[in-house]
Amino acid sequence: MAFVQEPPKDAFRLGMLIYDTRYRSITIQVVVLVLFLLFLSWLVNNTIANLALKDRTFDFAFLFARSGYDINQTLVDYTNDSSHLRAAYIGLLNTLLSALIGCALATVLGVTVGVLRLSRNWLISRLMTVYVEIFRNVPVLLWILLGAAILSEATPAPADYRVTEAMQAAGEAPKASMVLFDSVAITTRGINIPAPMVEHGLPRLELPGISLNSNLLVFFLVLGAGLYADHRIRAHARRVQEATGLRPVTWWKSLAVIFVPTIGLLMLMGFHLDYPVLKKFNFTGGIEVLHSFTALTFALAVYTAAFIAEIVRAGILAISRGQSEAAFALGLRPGRTMSLVILPQALRVIIPPLISQYLNLTKNTSLAIAVSYMDLRGTLGGVTLNQTGKELECMLLMMGIYLTISLTISSLMNLFNRAVKLKER
């Protein structure tokens, strides 16, 4: 006769925290966590003690004081009477502008190079290899400096565009002249392009906290409506094609719904271009694209594009050959095979590493200081930090802002990734 005996239930003893494998890992984690928190609080405490020792305070009130300095590229209104907070905002916008345009350029260039590197044309694929290896293996700071040096050394000074009376009398041409039908001037300082202006514009839209250019808003609304109408027209055409096998002609309808309303709106608002004009020292009017911006953005774009090209190539190579063979068997030409079959599948492999390239590019915009581009690091972390002496506050604020930008980009890209990734049901 056998008895089923309950295993003896051990009472909990302190020693079990170390000798019992069930508890040991928890014990270790708790100990490490406590030590880490102690260390963290020691760091904070040390900082506070040292600030007190130096008779320094920790506050952000300086952000609301008058900044007193000027910035050469301001996307929104700013004068030296604005606050340091406003200056930081200007810097942030400059950072975002450079990052946004840089990411867009890098993506286009990177995908093109990545695809071409797999080309069967020996010359093209080798050229792309050379591009990738050169740009990937030289520090990006050097590319930025090289770009800035070329742009400022190889271009004519604004004074070279001037036609003096003596020159007119002698019938001489100035040393430099504007390009693209006299609308664009490239000088040692920047590229002056015509600015779109409206004659009778709408008043600015003042919302609490922000002020919007309602002209631009209306333009985009009309354009968006046109694009949506075009989308509807083509969807209808597709339905007709599926039902009857005949696709109705849509191109003139598309053109009409997109262009007629927008052009009408522009004419109504009195749209015209404001051309750059040479004044005493510089070109005024139009938009001046500073060389520092161009050098920074392009250098970051071509550098990052080299990495993106490799990511794209890896993504394409990850798709089995059977896919393209199947597409060829269906009669798709190589271009359409790439864009309709290979790339959509490759995106699943491409996107996760692409996110980190976008993040890298965004963070690398802080190299702007090397070419005097006033980004967040140049305003908040440069001039403001120096003039107010609030190192800790400025640094923490900057770290917080860069962290926020990076996390936003990565969460947006993760959403996109979720949309394109393989649906496993």
């Binding site: 040390n46 020792l53 007193g68 040692t188 020292f281």
Partner: protein, 338 residues
């Protein structure tokens, strides 16, 4: 975890460095070396020469302090600082004293918690332009692009000057003098602005110095001087009186050449106190009695240092102007040694 411990140790070390700066004179003596914050490179004021040794007007004062405190003018370690990094370097204790064309302003003195101990060069902000620009006054610079060193008082003066004269400009912010010169010469800006002495120094190093002019307007007061951390008065006194010893030496005609002779023969009680023949001024400072003598012997008196580094015989060709002794119509004036 390992990494954060390492980083934490680093930041802790950086923070502790601040605490160690409480008694700077004792620290310097114990270390046997003075750490002097200087310019990255401004010819005549503080720049490495062909052999990599720092030379210049500000550098000479560092050497005088080292001679007074440590008895050897060569026991200085020069830490080059830019306009942006200098105050952090001083506040964190990375350097003992900052002698680097720094303007004495209210907010730096009061808010940044530094002590400016003297003014070794009275300066003002000026503009340099190319001759062929056809500009003869700063008031004609409306619409110009102007290169400016970031992190300096000149940045704020410039904004104020253009605002007061109802003019506009485009700033190009640059990190240091070398970069400023490069941008200015490349034509990235029409004018380069900084302290007039700095402009003269930059111009001296340009290959075509004659093609550049410094405009007559001086748009600000820029009293440049050595500074130390707030609250360390003993160390501040050492720097202040070492500097005044050099000024007083010029006033009393004590030079590096005749200093021994003066010490032995002079009947003037003030010179005797200055050179430590009489009295115990050195002990009051926490130094020995020959401190003043050594400071003057290191690179000469104020006038000698001025002439050797930035005076009319040098390429920089600065006139004494405001920096002449008070007895000659200038502002340099040493309080009595007694």
């Amino acid at each position: 975890m390992k990494k954060s411990v390492f980083l934490g140790t680093l930041s802790a070390a950086a923070l502790l460095a601040g605490i160690a700066g409480a008694g700077t004179l004792d620290d310097v003596k114990a270390r046997g070396q003075l750490i002097c914050g200087t310019n990255v490179g401004l010819t005549g004021f503080g720049a490495p020469d062909a052999n990599g040794n720092y030379q210049g007007f500000d550098v000479a004062l560092c050497k005088a302090v080292a001679a007074a405190v440590l008895g050897d003018a060569s026991k200085v370690k020069f830490v080059p600082t830019t306009g942006e990094t200098r105050f952090t370097a001083l506040a964190s204790g990375e350097v003992d004293v900052l002698i680097r064309n720094s303007t004495w302003t209210f907010s730096r003195d009061v808010d940044l918690k530094f002590d400016f101990v003297a003014v070794n060069y009275y300066d003002g902000q000026g503009f340099m332009v190319k001759k062929d620009l056809g500009v003869s006054s700063a008031k004609e610079l409306d619409g110009a692009t102007i290169c400016i060193q970031t992190g300096t008082t000149t940045e704020l003066n410039l904004a104020d000057f253009f605002k007061a004269n109802n003019m506009t400009y485009t700033p190009v912010t640059i990190a240091d003098d070398a970069e400023g010169q490069r941008q200015y010469l490349a034509g990235a800006c029409d004018a380069y602005t900084t302290d007039a002495s700095g402009l003269a120094a930059s111009r001296a190093t340009m290959p075509d110095a004659d093609n550049h002019i410094i405009l007559p307007e001086i748009i600000s007061k820029e009293p440049l001087g050595p500074l130390v951390r707030h609250g360390d008065n003993q160390w501040g006194d050492v720097i202040r009186w070492t500097y005044y010893a050099l000024v007083a030496a010029e006033e009393y005609g004590v030079t590096s050449a005749n200093i021994e002779e003066m010490a032995n023969t002079t009947q003037n009680p003030e010179i005797k106190r200055l050179l430590g023949v009489e009295g115990d001024l050195g002990a009051m400072l926490g130094l020995d009695k020959d401190w003043g003598k050594r400071a003057i012997a290191a690179s000469g008196n104020y006038g000698e240092i001025f002439e050797a580094n930035i005076g009319s015989a040098t390429p920089i060709k600065l006139a004494r102007g405001l920096n002449a002794l008070w007895t000659q119509g200038g502002l340099q004036y040493a309080p009595p040694f007694r």
